[in-house]
Protein backbone atom coordinates (compact mmCIF):
# COMPACT_ATOMS: atom_id res chain seq x y z
CA UNK A 1 0.00 0.00 0.00
CA UNK A 2 1.40 3.37 -1.03
CA UNK A 3 1.63 5.96 1.74
CA UNK A 4 -0.61 8.76 0.46
CA UNK A 5 1.25 11.42 2.42
CA UNK A 6 4.67 10.70 0.96
CA UNK A 7 5.47 12.62 -2.21
CA UNK A 8 7.34 11.24 -5.19
CA UNK A 9 10.51 13.10 -6.06
CA UNK A 10 10.49 15.19 -9.25
CA UNK A 11 13.26 17.13 -10.92
CA UNK A 12 12.71 20.68 -12.07
CA UNK A 13 13.84 20.35 -15.66
CA UNK A 14 13.03 23.89 -16.82
CA UNK A 15 11.94 27.19 -15.31
CA UNK A 16 10.28 29.89 -17.41
CA UNK A 17 9.55 33.36 -16.15
CA UNK A 18 6.01 34.38 -17.09
CA UNK A 19 5.75 37.66 -15.19
CA UNK A 20 7.78 39.33 -12.43
CA UNK A 21 6.11 37.08 -9.84
CA UNK A 22 4.89 34.08 -11.83
CA UNK A 23 6.99 31.20 -13.13
CA UNK A 24 6.23 28.00 -14.97
CA UNK A 25 8.07 24.89 -13.73
CA UNK A 26 8.52 21.89 -15.97
CA UNK A 27 8.68 18.77 -13.79
CA UNK A 28 9.74 15.19 -14.42
CA UNK A 29 9.43 12.35 -11.91
CA UNK A 30 12.77 10.79 -11.02
CA UNK A 31 11.24 7.36 -11.18
CA UNK A 32 10.45 6.67 -14.85
CA UNK A 33 7.70 4.25 -13.91
CA UNK A 34 5.95 6.93 -11.85
CA UNK A 35 6.26 9.42 -14.73
CA UNK A 36 4.78 6.89 -17.16
CA UNK A 37 1.81 6.26 -14.90
CA UNK A 38 1.16 9.91 -14.13
CA UNK A 39 -2.09 10.52 -15.99
CA UNK A 40 -4.20 13.55 -15.31
CA UNK A 41 -7.10 15.60 -16.59
CA UNK A 42 -7.18 19.35 -17.25
CA UNK A 43 -8.31 21.04 -14.04
CA UNK A 44 -6.69 18.55 -11.66
CA UNK A 45 -4.01 19.70 -9.24
CA UNK A 46 -0.98 18.37 -7.43
CA UNK A 47 0.43 18.96 -3.94
CA UNK A 48 3.96 20.28 -4.33
CA UNK A 49 6.55 19.89 -1.56
CA UNK A 50 9.52 22.14 -1.13
CA UNK A 51 11.21 20.12 1.61
CA UNK A 52 11.67 22.16 4.74
CA UNK A 53 9.07 24.73 3.72
CA UNK A 54 5.92 22.71 3.27
CA UNK A 55 3.40 21.70 0.70
CA UNK A 56 0.89 23.64 -1.40
CA UNK A 57 -1.64 22.81 -4.15
CA UNK A 58 -1.10 23.92 -7.76
CA UNK A 59 -3.11 23.26 -10.88
CA UNK A 60 -1.37 21.33 -13.59
CA UNK A 61 -0.98 23.87 -16.37
CA UNK A 62 0.29 21.56 -19.10
CA UNK A 63 -1.99 19.51 -21.32
CA UNK A 64 -2.37 15.78 -20.58
CA UNK A 65 -1.14 15.14 -24.12
CA UNK A 66 2.35 15.75 -22.78
CA UNK A 67 3.57 12.34 -21.61
CA UNK A 68 7.16 12.90 -20.57
CA UNK A 69 6.73 15.82 -18.20
CA UNK A 70 4.12 18.11 -16.70
CA UNK A 71 4.05 21.77 -15.76
CA UNK A 72 2.76 24.01 -13.03
CA UNK A 73 2.57 27.79 -13.12
CA UNK A 74 3.11 29.43 -9.77
CA UNK A 75 2.65 32.88 -8.34
CA UNK A 76 5.02 33.86 -5.54
CA UNK A 77 2.90 34.68 -2.49
CA UNK A 78 4.18 32.98 0.67
CA UNK A 79 6.40 30.35 2.30
CA UNK A 80 6.31 27.48 -0.16
CA UNK A 81 6.14 29.62 -3.29
CA UNK A 82 9.03 31.85 -2.20
CA UNK A 83 11.14 28.79 -1.46
CA UNK A 84 10.22 27.31 -4.84
CA UNK A 85 11.28 30.51 -6.61
CA UNK A 86 14.76 30.17 -5.10
CA UNK A 87 15.30 26.74 -6.66
CA UNK A 88 17.12 26.09 -9.91
CA UNK A 89 16.80 23.74 -12.83
CA UNK A 90 17.97 20.31 -11.73
CA UNK A 91 16.76 20.71 -8.14
CA UNK A 92 14.40 18.20 -6.56
CA UNK A 93 10.92 18.83 -5.15
CA UNK A 94 8.12 16.48 -4.13
CA UNK A 95 4.77 15.83 -5.78
CA UNK A 96 1.62 14.04 -4.67
CA UNK A 97 -1.38 13.66 -6.93
CA UNK A 98 -3.01 14.27 -9.29
CA UNK A 99 -6.00 15.19 -7.13
CA UNK A 100 -9.46 16.58 -7.70
CA UNK A 101 -12.09 15.96 -10.35
CA UNK A 102 -10.81 18.16 -13.19
CA UNK A 103 -12.99 19.65 -15.92
CA UNK A 104 -15.68 17.32 -17.29
CA UNK A 105 -14.36 17.70 -20.86
CA UNK A 106 -16.77 15.12 -22.30
CA UNK A 107 -19.62 17.47 -21.38
CA UNK A 108 -18.00 20.24 -23.43
CA UNK A 109 -17.96 18.23 -26.67
CA UNK A 110 -20.01 19.68 -29.57
CA UNK A 111 -20.41 22.91 -27.62
CA UNK A 112 -18.90 26.35 -27.86
CA UNK A 113 -16.60 27.07 -24.94
CA UNK A 114 -16.15 30.43 -23.27
CA UNK A 115 -12.99 30.38 -21.12
CA UNK A 116 -12.77 33.10 -18.51
CA UNK A 117 -9.60 33.61 -16.49
CA UNK A 118 -8.30 36.10 -13.99
CA UNK A 119 -4.61 36.41 -13.04
CA UNK A 120 -2.96 33.10 -12.17
CA UNK A 121 -6.38 31.48 -12.77
CA UNK A 122 -5.34 30.97 -16.37
CA UNK A 123 -3.10 28.09 -15.22
CA UNK A 124 -5.74 25.33 -15.20
CA UNK A 125 -7.43 26.88 -18.24
CA UNK A 126 -4.16 26.62 -20.18
CA UNK A 127 -4.24 22.88 -19.62
CA UNK A 128 -7.84 22.76 -20.80
CA UNK A 129 -7.34 25.05 -23.81
CA UNK A 130 -4.37 23.05 -25.09
CA UNK A 131 -6.27 19.82 -24.52
CA UNK A 132 -9.26 21.16 -26.47
CA UNK A 133 -7.03 22.45 -29.28
CA UNK A 134 -5.45 19.04 -29.71
CA UNK A 135 -8.94 17.62 -30.29
CA UNK A 136 -10.18 20.74 -32.06
CA UNK A 137 -12.83 19.05 -34.19
CA UNK A 138 -14.77 17.86 -31.16
CA UNK A 139 -15.70 21.36 -30.01
CA UNK A 140 -17.53 24.42 -31.39
CA UNK A 141 -16.36 27.99 -31.26
CA UNK A 142 -13.78 28.91 -28.65
CA UNK A 143 -13.57 32.26 -26.87
CA UNK A 144 -11.17 33.40 -24.16
CA UNK A 145 -11.68 36.35 -21.84
CA UNK A 146 -8.64 36.99 -19.67
CA UNK A 147 -7.88 39.77 -17.24
CA UNK A 148 -4.62 40.60 -15.47
CA UNK A 149 -3.59 43.40 -13.15
CA UNK A 150 -1.21 45.13 -15.57
CA UNK A 151 0.18 44.21 -19.00
CA UNK A 152 3.30 42.86 -17.24
CA UNK A 153 1.12 40.42 -15.28
CA UNK A 154 -0.30 38.62 -18.31
CA UNK A 155 0.83 34.98 -18.21
CA UNK A 156 1.57 32.70 -21.19
CA UNK A 157 1.95 35.76 -23.46
CA UNK A 158 3.57 33.92 -26.38
CA UNK A 159 1.24 30.99 -26.14
CA UNK A 160 -1.83 33.21 -26.14
CA UNK A 161 -0.64 34.52 -29.52
CA UNK A 162 -0.59 30.99 -30.92
CA UNK A 163 -4.07 30.32 -29.54
CA UNK A 164 -5.44 33.22 -31.55
CA UNK A 165 -5.57 31.03 -34.68
CA UNK A 166 -8.33 28.94 -33.15
CA UNK A 167 -9.58 30.96 -30.23
CA UNK A 168 -11.26 34.37 -30.18
CA UNK A 169 -9.04 36.00 -27.56
CA UNK A 170 -10.01 39.07 -25.51
CA UNK A 171 -7.65 40.55 -22.96
CA UNK A 172 -8.00 43.29 -20.41
CA UNK A 173 -5.88 44.79 -17.64
CA UNK A 174 -6.95 46.62 -14.50
CA UNK A 175 -4.28 49.24 -15.03
CA UNK A 176 -2.72 49.91 -18.43
CA UNK A 177 0.71 51.34 -19.27
CA UNK A 178 2.22 53.20 -22.24
CA UNK A 179 2.60 49.97 -24.26
CA UNK A 180 -0.96 48.79 -23.73
CA UNK A 181 -3.40 49.53 -26.56
CA UNK A 182 -6.07 47.07 -25.44
CA UNK A 183 -9.00 47.09 -23.10
CA UNK A 184 -8.72 48.44 -19.56
CA UNK A 185 -11.03 47.33 -16.75
CA UNK A 186 -12.08 44.19 -14.88
CA UNK A 187 -12.81 41.02 -16.84
CA UNK A 188 -16.53 41.68 -17.03
CA UNK A 189 -15.97 44.66 -19.35
CA UNK A 190 -15.00 42.12 -22.02
CA UNK A 191 -18.60 40.89 -22.22
CA UNK A 192 -19.22 43.94 -24.43
CA UNK A 193 -16.69 42.66 -26.95
CA UNK A 194 -17.93 39.15 -27.39
CA UNK A 195 -20.92 37.44 -28.84
CA UNK A 196 -21.96 34.10 -27.39
CA UNK A 197 -25.00 31.92 -27.72
CA UNK A 198 -25.84 30.89 -24.15
CA UNK A 199 -27.91 27.97 -25.45
CA UNK A 200 -24.99 26.06 -26.87
CA UNK A 201 -22.06 27.39 -24.89
CA UNK A 202 -20.39 26.29 -21.67
CA UNK A 203 -18.60 28.92 -19.60
CA UNK A 204 -15.49 27.70 -17.76
CA UNK A 205 -13.77 30.01 -15.34
CA UNK A 206 -10.99 30.26 -12.80
CA UNK A 207 -9.88 33.34 -10.93
CA UNK A 208 -10.29 35.18 -7.65
CA UNK A 209 -13.65 34.56 -5.90
CA UNK A 210 -14.77 38.13 -6.41
CA UNK A 211 -14.14 37.92 -10.15
CA UNK A 212 -16.02 34.64 -10.40
CA UNK A 213 -18.88 36.19 -8.47
CA UNK A 214 -19.36 39.04 -10.92
CA UNK A 215 -18.67 36.99 -14.03
CA UNK A 216 -21.27 34.43 -12.94
CA UNK A 217 -23.79 37.21 -12.42
CA UNK A 218 -23.20 38.45 -15.98
CA UNK A 219 -23.44 34.96 -17.41
CA UNK A 220 -26.77 34.40 -15.70
CA UNK A 221 -27.99 37.73 -17.06
CA UNK A 222 -26.98 36.62 -20.55
CA UNK A 223 -29.13 33.53 -20.06
CA UNK A 224 -26.52 30.85 -19.35
CA UNK A 225 -28.15 27.88 -17.58
CA UNK A 226 -26.74 27.39 -14.08
CA UNK A 227 -25.42 23.95 -14.94
CA UNK A 228 -23.46 25.24 -17.94
CA UNK A 229 -21.31 27.51 -15.80
CA UNK A 230 -18.19 25.71 -14.53
CA UNK A 231 -16.10 27.18 -11.73
CA UNK A 232 -12.71 26.04 -10.50
CA UNK A 233 -12.74 26.95 -6.80
CA UNK A 234 -9.96 27.59 -4.33
CA UNK A 235 -9.81 27.02 -0.58
CA UNK A 236 -7.03 26.40 1.91
CA UNK A 237 -5.71 22.88 1.39
CA UNK A 238 -3.47 20.73 3.49
CA UNK A 239 -3.99 17.08 2.60
CA UNK A 240 -5.59 17.26 -0.85
CA UNK A 241 -7.37 13.96 -0.18
CA UNK A 242 -10.48 14.77 1.84
CA UNK A 243 -9.19 14.14 5.36
CA UNK A 244 -7.72 17.32 6.90
CA UNK A 245 -11.01 19.22 6.63
CA UNK A 246 -9.54 22.55 5.52
CA UNK A 247 -10.99 22.95 2.07
CA UNK A 248 -14.68 22.43 2.61
CA UNK A 249 -17.35 24.84 1.56
CA UNK A 250 -20.42 23.71 3.41
CA UNK A 251 -21.13 20.13 2.50
CA UNK A 252 -18.45 19.77 -0.19
CA UNK A 253 -14.70 19.29 -0.05
CA UNK A 254 -12.99 21.32 -2.77
CA UNK A 255 -10.05 18.89 -2.93
CA UNK A 256 -12.14 15.76 -3.26
CA UNK A 257 -15.46 16.75 -4.86
CA UNK A 258 -13.95 19.67 -6.79
CA UNK A 259 -12.16 21.89 -7.48
CA UNK A 260 -14.52 22.13 -10.48
CA UNK A 261 -18.22 22.61 -9.76
CA UNK A 262 -21.12 23.95 -11.77
CA UNK A 263 -22.68 27.10 -10.43
CA UNK A 264 -25.82 25.04 -9.89
CA UNK A 265 -23.96 22.68 -7.56
CA UNK A 266 -22.47 25.51 -5.54
CA UNK A 267 -25.94 26.77 -4.73
CA UNK A 268 -26.55 23.64 -2.64
CA UNK A 269 -23.39 24.01 -0.54
CA UNK A 270 -25.24 26.08 2.16
CA UNK A 271 -22.10 28.17 2.62
CA UNK A 272 -21.43 30.75 -0.10
CA UNK A 273 -18.87 29.56 -2.64
CA UNK A 274 -18.21 32.76 -4.58
Amino acid sequence: MKNVYIPDIVTISEIREETPDIKTFKLIFKDKEVQRNFNYKPGQFIELSVFGYGEAPFSISSSPNQQNFFEITVKRVGDVTNALFKLNEGNAVGVRGPFGNGFPTHKFEDKNILFIGGGIGLAPLRSLINFVLSNREKYGELTLMYGARTPKDIVFKKEIETWKKHVDVHLTVDVGDETWKGTVGVVTVLFKEIEVDPKNTVAVMCGPPIMMHFVTKELLKLGFPEDQIFLSLERLMKCGIGICGHCNIGRKYVCKHGPVFTYKETKDFLETAI
Binding site: M1, N3, V4, Y5, I6, P7, I9, T11, S49, F51, G52, Y53, G54, E55, V77, G78, T81, L87, N88, G90, N91, A92, G94, P209, E234, R235, L236, K238, C239, I241, G242, I243, C244, G245, H246, N248, I249, G250, R251, L270, E271
Partner: protein
Amino acid sequence: MQKMEKYMVLSKKKLGVLVERFLKEFQVYGPTEKNGIIAFEKISDWSELRLDVAGVPLLPPKKIFFPPEEVLFTFKIRNNNDVEIGDPLDKIKEEKRVLIGIRPCDVHGLTLLDKVFISEIVDPYYVTRRKNTIIICITCNNPTEYCFCNFTKSGPSIKEGFDLLLTDIGQFFLVEIGSEKGKDIINSNSDLFQEATENDLIKRDQKIREVEEKLSRNQLTGANELYQKLIRVFNDELWNEYGRKCVACGKCNFACPTCHCFDVYDVMELTLKEGKRVRKWDACHFLSFTRVAGGEIFRKERISRVKQRIYDKYCYPVDEFGSIFCVGCGRCIHVCTAGIDIREILKKVLGM
Protein backbone atom coordinates in the same frame (compact mmCIF):
# COMPACT_ATOMS: atom_id res chain seq x y z
CA MET B 1 -33.54 -17.29 23.40
CA GLN B 2 -30.16 -15.67 22.69
CA LYS B 3 -27.27 -17.76 21.43
CA MET B 4 -25.28 -18.41 24.56
CA GLU B 5 -21.90 -19.33 23.07
CA LYS B 6 -21.32 -15.64 22.37
CA TYR B 7 -21.42 -14.86 26.09
CA MET B 8 -18.93 -15.51 28.86
CA VAL B 9 -18.38 -14.15 32.33
CA LEU B 10 -15.16 -12.94 33.88
CA SER B 11 -14.79 -12.21 37.58
CA LYS B 12 -13.46 -8.78 38.45
CA LYS B 13 -10.34 -10.31 40.03
CA LYS B 14 -9.62 -12.32 36.92
CA LEU B 15 -9.86 -9.24 34.77
CA GLY B 16 -6.75 -8.12 36.64
CA VAL B 17 -5.02 -11.35 35.67
CA LEU B 18 -6.08 -10.86 32.06
CA VAL B 19 -4.74 -7.32 31.96
CA GLU B 20 -1.45 -8.45 33.51
CA ARG B 21 -1.18 -11.03 30.73
CA PHE B 22 -1.90 -8.36 28.13
CA LEU B 23 0.83 -6.20 29.60
CA LYS B 24 3.40 -8.87 28.73
CA GLU B 25 2.48 -8.84 25.06
CA PHE B 26 0.83 -5.51 24.29
CA GLN B 27 0.92 -1.82 25.03
CA VAL B 28 -2.22 -1.42 27.12
CA TYR B 29 -4.26 1.79 27.12
CA GLY B 30 -7.24 2.63 29.28
CA PRO B 31 -8.88 5.25 31.48
CA THR B 32 -6.65 6.24 34.39
CA GLU B 33 -6.95 8.85 37.09
CA LYS B 34 -4.13 11.20 38.05
CA ASN B 35 -4.70 14.22 40.32
CA GLY B 36 -8.41 13.93 39.73
CA ILE B 37 -8.00 13.98 35.96
CA ILE B 38 -9.34 11.03 34.02
CA ALA B 39 -7.43 10.31 30.83
CA PHE B 40 -6.76 7.50 28.39
CA GLU B 41 -3.15 6.62 29.10
CA LYS B 42 -0.76 3.76 28.61
CA ILE B 43 -0.73 1.71 31.81
CA SER B 44 1.95 -0.46 33.33
CA ASP B 45 -0.14 -2.07 36.05
CA TRP B 46 -3.74 -3.17 35.93
CA SER B 47 -4.54 -1.31 39.15
CA GLU B 48 -4.15 1.97 37.23
CA LEU B 49 -7.31 1.19 35.26
CA ARG B 50 -10.52 3.05 36.22
CA LEU B 51 -13.50 1.31 34.71
CA ASP B 52 -16.29 2.92 36.70
CA VAL B 53 -15.52 6.62 36.47
CA ALA B 54 -18.28 9.12 35.84
CA GLY B 55 -18.56 9.96 32.16
CA VAL B 56 -15.68 9.76 29.73
CA PRO B 57 -12.08 11.01 29.86
CA LEU B 58 -11.93 14.60 28.66
CA LEU B 59 -9.68 13.85 25.72
CA PRO B 60 -11.26 11.19 23.54
CA PRO B 61 -9.49 7.98 22.48
CA LYS B 62 -8.94 9.37 18.97
CA LYS B 63 -5.53 10.44 20.27
CA ILE B 64 -4.46 6.80 20.42
CA PHE B 65 -5.10 6.41 16.68
CA PHE B 66 -4.61 9.97 15.47
CA PRO B 67 -2.15 11.62 17.87
CA PRO B 68 -2.36 15.38 18.50
CA GLU B 69 0.93 15.70 16.69
CA GLU B 70 2.60 13.13 14.47
CA VAL B 71 5.42 12.84 11.98
CA LEU B 72 4.18 11.98 8.48
CA PHE B 73 7.69 11.39 7.19
CA THR B 74 11.27 12.51 7.62
CA PHE B 75 13.53 13.77 4.87
CA LYS B 76 17.21 14.20 4.22
CA ILE B 77 18.29 16.68 1.58
CA ARG B 78 21.39 15.02 0.08
CA ASN B 79 22.09 17.99 -2.14
CA ASN B 80 19.49 20.21 -3.75
CA ASN B 81 18.98 17.58 -6.43
CA ASP B 82 18.16 14.61 -4.27
CA VAL B 83 16.00 13.95 -1.26
CA GLU B 84 15.73 10.80 0.79
CA ILE B 85 12.48 10.06 2.58
CA GLY B 86 11.92 8.04 5.76
CA ASP B 87 8.55 6.44 6.40
CA PRO B 88 7.55 6.17 10.10
CA LEU B 89 4.95 3.53 9.23
CA ASP B 90 7.45 0.71 9.49
CA LYS B 91 7.70 1.33 13.21
CA ILE B 92 3.99 1.86 13.76
CA LYS B 93 3.33 -1.46 12.05
CA GLU B 94 5.19 -3.31 14.78
CA GLU B 95 3.03 -2.00 17.62
CA LYS B 96 0.52 -4.32 19.28
CA ARG B 97 -1.97 -2.60 21.50
CA VAL B 98 -5.06 -3.16 23.62
CA LEU B 99 -7.48 -0.38 24.46
CA ILE B 100 -9.59 -1.41 27.41
CA GLY B 101 -12.37 0.44 29.15
CA ILE B 102 -13.54 2.52 26.20
CA ARG B 103 -17.28 3.29 26.38
CA PRO B 104 -19.84 2.70 23.61
CA CYS B 105 -20.05 6.39 22.65
CA ASP B 106 -16.31 6.46 22.03
CA VAL B 107 -16.37 3.20 20.08
CA HIS B 108 -19.01 4.85 17.90
CA GLY B 109 -16.67 7.82 17.60
CA LEU B 110 -13.97 5.53 16.24
CA THR B 111 -16.29 3.89 13.72
CA LEU B 112 -17.18 7.40 12.52
CA LEU B 113 -13.51 8.37 12.22
CA ASP B 114 -13.04 5.16 10.23
CA LYS B 115 -15.35 6.61 7.58
CA VAL B 116 -13.06 9.61 7.17
CA PHE B 117 -9.67 7.93 7.46
CA ILE B 118 -10.47 4.64 5.76
CA SER B 119 -12.43 5.32 2.58
CA GLU B 120 -11.36 5.16 -1.06
CA ILE B 121 -8.22 6.85 0.18
CA VAL B 122 -6.70 5.23 3.23
CA ASP B 123 -4.78 7.13 5.90
CA PRO B 124 -1.94 4.66 6.50
CA TYR B 125 -1.09 5.78 10.05
CA TYR B 126 -4.65 5.63 11.29
CA VAL B 127 -5.54 2.36 9.63
CA THR B 128 -2.38 0.68 10.89
CA ARG B 129 -3.10 1.70 14.46
CA ARG B 130 -6.73 0.63 14.13
CA LYS B 131 -5.66 -2.78 12.86
CA ASN B 132 -3.12 -3.36 15.57
CA THR B 133 -5.31 -2.29 18.48
CA ILE B 134 -7.72 -4.63 20.23
CA ILE B 135 -10.83 -2.83 21.46
CA ILE B 136 -12.31 -3.95 24.78
CA CYS B 137 -15.38 -1.84 25.35
CA ILE B 138 -17.31 -1.48 28.58
CA THR B 139 -21.05 -0.86 28.63
CA CYS B 140 -21.60 2.56 30.13
CA ASN B 141 -22.16 2.29 33.86
CA ASN B 142 -21.91 5.91 34.93
CA PRO B 143 -23.23 8.67 32.65
CA THR B 144 -23.00 12.32 33.68
CA GLU B 145 -25.22 15.35 33.24
CA TYR B 146 -23.39 16.12 29.99
CA CYS B 147 -24.28 12.84 28.28
CA PHE B 148 -26.94 12.63 25.58
CA CYS B 149 -26.13 9.41 23.75
CA ASN B 150 -29.80 8.48 23.93
CA PHE B 151 -30.38 11.23 21.35
CA THR B 152 -27.50 10.27 19.08
CA LYS B 153 -28.25 6.54 19.51
CA SER B 154 -24.68 5.72 20.43
CA GLY B 155 -25.08 4.43 23.97
CA PRO B 156 -25.26 3.29 26.70
CA SER B 157 -24.99 -0.17 25.11
CA ILE B 158 -23.49 -1.21 21.79
CA LYS B 159 -23.87 -3.99 19.25
CA GLU B 160 -20.66 -3.83 17.18
CA GLY B 161 -17.34 -2.10 16.81
CA PHE B 162 -15.57 -3.95 19.65
CA ASP B 163 -13.53 -7.10 19.96
CA LEU B 164 -14.83 -7.78 23.46
CA LEU B 165 -17.56 -6.01 25.38
CA LEU B 166 -17.69 -6.05 29.18
CA THR B 167 -20.80 -5.25 31.17
CA ASP B 168 -20.51 -4.83 34.92
CA ILE B 169 -23.07 -7.19 36.47
CA GLY B 170 -21.87 -7.08 40.08
CA GLN B 171 -19.18 -9.62 40.99
CA PHE B 172 -18.61 -10.37 37.33
CA PHE B 173 -18.36 -8.80 33.93
CA LEU B 174 -20.57 -10.27 31.28
CA VAL B 175 -18.32 -10.65 28.26
CA GLU B 176 -19.61 -10.47 24.68
CA ILE B 177 -17.49 -11.44 21.72
CA GLY B 178 -17.51 -9.04 18.80
CA SER B 179 -14.83 -10.41 16.50
CA GLU B 180 -12.40 -13.21 15.73
CA LYS B 181 -9.74 -11.31 17.66
CA GLY B 182 -12.05 -11.26 20.65
CA LYS B 183 -12.68 -14.96 20.34
CA ASP B 184 -8.93 -15.62 20.25
CA ILE B 185 -8.47 -13.79 23.53
CA ILE B 186 -11.10 -15.93 25.19
CA ASN B 187 -9.65 -19.13 23.73
CA SER B 188 -6.10 -18.39 24.76
CA ASN B 189 -7.17 -17.36 28.25
CA SER B 190 -9.91 -19.93 28.73
CA ASP B 191 -8.84 -20.55 32.33
CA LEU B 192 -10.17 -17.09 33.25
CA PHE B 193 -13.61 -17.20 31.62
CA GLN B 194 -16.75 -19.15 32.38
CA GLU B 195 -19.82 -19.59 30.25
CA ALA B 196 -22.54 -17.11 31.03
CA THR B 197 -26.01 -18.16 32.17
CA GLU B 198 -29.40 -16.85 31.11
CA ASN B 199 -29.48 -15.05 34.46
CA ASP B 200 -26.29 -13.13 33.66
CA LEU B 201 -27.97 -11.77 30.54
CA ILE B 202 -30.97 -10.70 32.55
CA LYS B 203 -28.62 -8.86 34.90
CA ARG B 204 -26.97 -7.15 31.94
CA ASP B 205 -30.29 -6.00 30.51
CA GLN B 206 -31.25 -4.70 33.94
CA LYS B 207 -27.98 -2.80 34.17
CA ILE B 208 -28.50 -1.20 30.76
CA ARG B 209 -32.06 -0.23 31.71
CA GLU B 210 -30.77 1.48 34.85
CA VAL B 211 -28.31 3.54 32.86
CA GLU B 212 -30.95 4.36 30.25
CA GLU B 213 -33.15 5.52 33.07
CA LYS B 214 -30.44 7.93 34.23
CA LEU B 215 -29.95 9.19 30.70
CA SER B 216 -33.63 9.88 30.24
CA ARG B 217 -33.24 13.15 32.15
CA ASN B 218 -31.91 14.37 28.82
CA GLN B 219 -35.13 15.31 27.05
CA LEU B 220 -33.77 15.99 23.59
CA THR B 221 -35.71 14.15 20.88
CA GLY B 222 -36.37 14.42 17.16
CA ALA B 223 -32.98 13.40 15.73
CA ASN B 224 -34.66 12.34 12.50
CA GLU B 225 -35.83 15.84 11.69
CA LEU B 226 -32.56 17.52 12.55
CA TYR B 227 -31.06 17.36 9.06
CA GLN B 228 -33.98 19.01 7.30
CA LYS B 229 -34.40 21.59 10.01
CA LEU B 230 -30.73 22.55 9.90
CA ILE B 231 -30.98 23.15 6.16
CA ARG B 232 -33.91 25.44 6.78
CA VAL B 233 -32.27 27.53 9.54
CA PHE B 234 -28.86 28.13 7.96
CA ASN B 235 -29.48 31.86 7.77
CA ASP B 236 -31.64 32.09 10.88
CA GLU B 237 -31.06 34.59 13.67
CA LEU B 238 -30.72 31.83 16.24
CA TRP B 239 -27.00 31.64 15.45
CA ASN B 240 -26.26 35.25 16.40
CA GLU B 241 -26.21 34.54 20.12
CA TYR B 242 -23.62 31.78 19.71
CA GLY B 243 -21.50 33.85 17.34
CA ARG B 244 -21.36 36.47 20.09
CA LYS B 245 -20.64 34.05 22.96
CA CYS B 246 -18.03 31.74 21.40
CA VAL B 247 -14.44 32.82 22.04
CA ALA B 248 -13.02 30.60 19.29
CA CYS B 249 -10.72 28.68 21.64
CA GLY B 250 -11.13 25.43 19.71
CA LYS B 251 -11.44 23.30 22.85
CA CYS B 252 -14.65 21.75 21.58
CA ASN B 253 -12.80 20.62 18.46
CA PHE B 254 -9.96 19.01 20.36
CA ALA B 255 -12.28 17.32 22.86
CA CYS B 256 -14.60 15.91 20.22
CA PRO B 257 -14.14 12.21 19.40
CA THR B 258 -15.09 12.80 15.75
CA CYS B 259 -13.29 16.08 14.96
CA HIS B 260 -10.44 15.10 12.67
CA CYS B 261 -9.06 18.28 11.09
CA PHE B 262 -5.34 18.78 11.00
CA ASP B 263 -2.70 21.22 9.86
CA VAL B 264 0.48 20.10 8.06
CA TYR B 265 3.86 21.78 8.19
CA ASP B 266 7.59 21.10 7.87
CA VAL B 267 10.10 21.30 10.69
CA MET B 268 13.77 21.62 9.82
CA GLU B 269 16.67 20.45 11.97
CA LEU B 270 19.32 23.05 12.72
CA THR B 271 21.58 21.47 10.12
CA LEU B 272 19.04 22.58 7.48
CA LYS B 273 19.72 19.26 5.80
CA GLU B 274 17.18 17.13 7.60
CA GLY B 275 13.65 17.67 8.65
CA LYS B 276 10.22 16.20 9.06
CA ARG B 277 6.69 16.80 7.90
CA VAL B 278 4.28 16.98 10.81
CA ARG B 279 0.55 17.01 11.15
CA LYS B 280 -1.14 18.56 14.14
CA TRP B 281 -4.77 18.75 15.25
CA ASP B 282 -6.39 21.92 13.99
CA ALA B 283 -9.69 23.55 14.87
CA CYS B 284 -12.31 24.94 12.50
CA HIS B 285 -13.09 27.48 15.22
CA PHE B 286 -9.73 29.18 14.65
CA LEU B 287 -9.68 32.26 12.44
CA SER B 288 -6.59 30.89 10.70
CA PHE B 289 -8.41 27.73 9.64
CA THR B 290 -9.47 29.16 6.26
CA ARG B 291 -6.83 31.85 5.77
CA VAL B 292 -5.18 31.60 2.36
CA ALA B 293 -2.10 33.33 0.96
CA GLY B 294 -2.88 36.95 0.33
CA GLY B 295 -4.86 37.16 3.54
CA GLU B 296 -8.37 36.20 2.47
CA ILE B 297 -10.28 34.36 5.22
CA PHE B 298 -13.33 32.47 4.09
CA ARG B 299 -14.89 32.12 7.56
CA LYS B 300 -14.07 35.44 9.07
CA GLU B 301 -17.12 35.88 11.32
CA ARG B 302 -17.22 33.74 14.46
CA ILE B 303 -20.81 32.88 13.71
CA SER B 304 -19.75 31.21 10.46
CA ARG B 305 -17.31 29.05 12.39
CA VAL B 306 -19.82 28.11 15.08
CA LYS B 307 -22.17 27.04 12.31
CA GLN B 308 -19.42 25.14 10.53
CA ARG B 309 -18.86 22.90 13.53
CA ILE B 310 -22.55 22.25 14.15
CA TYR B 311 -23.30 21.57 10.48
CA ASP B 312 -20.23 19.38 10.19
CA LYS B 313 -21.64 17.23 13.01
CA TYR B 314 -25.32 16.99 12.15
CA CYS B 315 -25.77 17.94 8.49
CA TYR B 316 -22.84 17.64 6.07
CA PRO B 317 -21.72 14.16 7.18
CA VAL B 318 -25.22 12.84 6.60
CA ASP B 319 -24.68 13.52 2.88
CA GLU B 320 -21.10 12.40 2.85
CA PHE B 321 -21.06 9.41 5.20
CA GLY B 322 -24.69 8.60 5.85
CA SER B 323 -24.69 9.47 9.54
CA ILE B 324 -24.37 12.33 11.98
CA PHE B 325 -20.91 12.83 13.47
CA CYS B 326 -21.90 13.32 17.10
CA VAL B 327 -21.96 10.51 19.64
CA GLY B 328 -23.53 12.51 22.44
CA CYS B 329 -20.49 12.29 24.71
CA GLY B 330 -21.03 15.85 25.97
CA ARG B 331 -17.32 16.68 26.01
CA CYS B 332 -17.82 19.89 24.03
CA ILE B 333 -20.35 21.02 26.63
CA HIS B 334 -18.03 20.15 29.49
CA VAL B 335 -15.02 22.01 28.09
CA CYS B 336 -16.64 25.06 26.49
CA THR B 337 -15.00 28.25 27.68
CA ALA B 338 -18.14 30.23 26.89
CA GLY B 339 -20.57 27.83 28.52
CA ILE B 340 -22.24 26.92 25.24
CA ASP B 341 -24.35 23.76 25.46
CA ILE B 342 -24.72 22.08 22.09
CA ARG B 343 -28.00 20.54 23.31
CA GLU B 344 -29.47 24.01 23.72
CA ILE B 345 -28.50 24.83 20.14
CA LEU B 346 -30.12 21.61 18.97
CA LYS B 347 -33.28 22.41 20.90
CA LYS B 348 -33.54 25.77 19.17
CA VAL B 349 -32.93 24.20 15.77
CA LEU B 350 -35.55 21.56 16.50
CA GLY B 351 -37.96 24.18 17.77
CA MET B 352 -38.22 22.57 21.22
